[in-house]
């Protein structure tokens, strides 16, 4: 199908000549909002984990898992949000190649914001270890490619696995 479309390769692989033409950059650069002063009741960590995963799907995510981070980390949990991608997001830098990144950013922005509005700390800014955390938590890779973004939080959750990264 891609062969019949003379513009598809441009869509997938052409890195923007102007970074402002790709909305992903503005979302990543955004200063996150504040934490609501009143905490929402947590039914139980198990229930909250279930709801968090459902929220990921509602916002458009394809899969989610929860990792408990090592003692001493700024946040006790990382929510791993995985997006199925048609292309390798590390090398396909066009709008099409980055479509899964865009969708994942929509998920993590809204998930982190919702948790902050529940009265708990959450950030979508810490992405350095995203692929390693996803592998450590045992999230099965999505075909043909997976793009992973993290939300770190102190919301009481039941982790799927403890990770050492």
């Amino acid at each position: 199908m891609a062969d019949a479309d003379p513009y598809w390769d441009f869509y997938v692989n052409h890195a923007p000549s102007n970074p402002d033409n790709q909305i992903n950059n503005a979302i990543r650069a955004w200063n996150e909002g504040s934490v609501f002063p009143v905490k929402k009741d947590v039914h139980s960590p198990d229930v909250m984990s279930r709801h968090v995963k459902e929220l990921v799907r509602f916002f458009g995510g394809d899969a989610a898992a929860i990792a408990r981070l090592p003692e001493g980390h700024e946040y006790p949990f990382a929510i791993v949000c995985a997006q199925r991608s048609d292309y390798d997001t590390r090398t396909a830098l066009g709008h099409g190649g980055q479509a899964a990144v865009q969708q994942a950013l929509f998920v993590t922005f809204n998930l982190a914001a919702t948790i902050r509005e529940m009265g708990y700390r959450a950030t979508a800014k810490l992405q350095d270890n995203a692929d390693r955390v996803a592998a450590a938590v045992g999230l099965p890779p999505l075909k043909p490619f997976t793009h992973v973004e993290l939300v770190h939080t102190d919301l009481p959750l039941a982790a799927d696995a403890e990770v050492a990264v």
Binding site: Y7, P16, N18, N21, D41
Partner: protein, 431 residues
């Protein structure tokens, strides 16, 4: 009563557009001034203090609602629309990608939109009568505020095509209209549509072409593009999703494209008979009568003032009414039997359509109810709990919520939605 459009040089260059059977342009159309739209009027206090304070001074009690809608946020930095509104707009690449055949580019752009998540993507030819009279610049329009100088005619010459793309609201969640659940489906779909349009506009600029947003009435563009037909409820009713789509700012462009045409889905015939939205509208804002001519356009006209004025009184329970969307027989899951019903109507000769409509409406009333009030449970929301009462129906909950939450869990399949006509049992089952 039809009134002929006065012939003048402008109409020769821009002939009166055909918008399908549901809407007809029958006279001169004055461009809509954004300052006369509901939100901008409310923004400057023209709709009274209650509505002004609802817009400016109300924080939603619901965390998800505070993220979904910046007008009721505790911190607008937690709302993605704020990001999309304030993001740098980018600009066209210096070198244009050559378009030899607009039909090939149109096919490509539709494929791109679907890859970026669009459920609906259509193209219209721009027309001056679709344009707003001036720059909205109201802080509400996602990408308004950067409209270049020029008359509507000049802008249409500069941006001759308009792209209408959108996402559909989740069918199961939208059943919980007049509840935070329905609000979430509505508001986050809007933001996904805004994100989609931002991405499309950015991509078109990367192809080397210009874009303009926030300058055109999206309903007019959607009718011309064949997204759907205008229903009695004032909503665009689409082929696959009925009225459960949200039209956000469309993208005008100079990228060479081939416009689509208006569609006939039988909405014109259905709305003449059905009236389900008019019967259930809690504020009687939808007419039981025929079409009116307003600003040169013959259409069903809703009373937006009464629809809008309801909001301050419901903010604790919900933000968006959506009753007219939920009860519309076109609002159904996107399945083969839905396609069959609409296909049957479309292929029936127009004089015979009333017979088919009566049959389909009877089926709709029988299987979905004349006034749907199905219970919906999602996250820790539950429409089985009566408005004003508190109960926890979450399976596995071990929390002590306190005495105020000690009501027994609801167990029926009836959903309770905030009462408005308190002298009726229409929306709340009593006893």
């Amino acid at each position: 009563m039809a009134v002929s459009v006065k012939p003048d040089p402008q109409t020769e260059e821009f002939p009166t557009p055909y918008l399908g059977r549901s809407v007809r342009i029958v006279g001169p159309v004055a461009n809509i001034e954004p300052k006369n739209l509901p939100h901008p009027m409310n923004q400057r206090g023209a709709l009274g203090k209650a509505l002004f304070n609802w817009m400016h001074s109300t924080i939603s009690p619901d965390p998800l609602a505070r993220v979904a809608f910046e007008r009721h946020a505790a911190d607008k930095a937690n709302v993605i629309r704020t990001v999309l509104m304030r993001a740098p707009r980018g600009k066209p690449a210096e070198e244009r990608v050559k378009v030899d055949d607009p039909a090939v580019m149109t096919k490509h752009l539709k494929r791109v939109a679907k890859h970026l998540g669009a459920d609906v993507i259509r193209i219209a030819a721009s027309h001056p009568s679709f344009m707003y009279g001036s720059n909205p610049n109201d802080g509400l329009t996602t990408m308004g505020g950067d409209r270049p100088a020029g008359t509507p005619e000049e802008l249409v010459r500069r941006f001759p095509y308009v792209i209408v793309a959108t996402k559909a609201w989740d069918y199961d969640l939208i059943k919980a209209h007049r509840h935070h659940i329905g609000d979430a489906a509505y508001d986050f779909t809007l933001e996904r549509s805004n994100l989609l349009h931002s991405a499309l506009a950015g991509y078109i600029q990367e192809l080397g072409y210009s874009t303009l947003r926030g300058a055109m009435n999206p309903q007019a563009a959607a009718l011309a593009a064949g997204v759907g037909e205008l229903g009695r409820n004032g909503m665009i009713i689409s082929e696959k999703f009925g009225p459960r789509i949200h039209l956000t700012d469309v993208v005008m462009t100079d990228l060479p494209l081939v416009p689509d045409k208006p569609v006939d889905l039988g909405v014109e015939d259905f709305c003449k008979i059905c009236r389900k939205c008019a019967i259930t509208c809690p504020t009687n804002s939808i007419t039981f009568e025929g079409k009116q001519i307003y600003n040169g356009v013959e259409k069903y006209k809703i009373k937006w003032e009464t629809c809008y004025r309801l909001r301050p009184f419901t903010v604790q329970y919900w933000g968006q009414c959506l009753t007219c969307v939920t009860v519309c027989p076109y609002t159904k899951p996107n399945t083969w039997w839905r396609d069959l019903a609409i296909g049957t109507l479309r292929h029936t000769p127009i004089p015979l359509r009333p017979l088919v409509v009566r049959g389909l409406k009877a089926l709709d009333d029988k299987f979905w109810g004349t006034i749907p009030n199905k219970r919906v449970r999602w996250l820790d929301y539950d429409t089985g709990i009566k408005p004003g009462e508190k109960a926890c129906t979450v399976a596995g909950c071990t929390a002590q919520h306190g005495e105020s939450h000690a009501q027994p869990a609801a167990d029926s399949q009836v959903g309770y939605y905030f009462p408005l006509k308190e002298n009726t049992n229409r929306f709340v089952k009593r006893g």
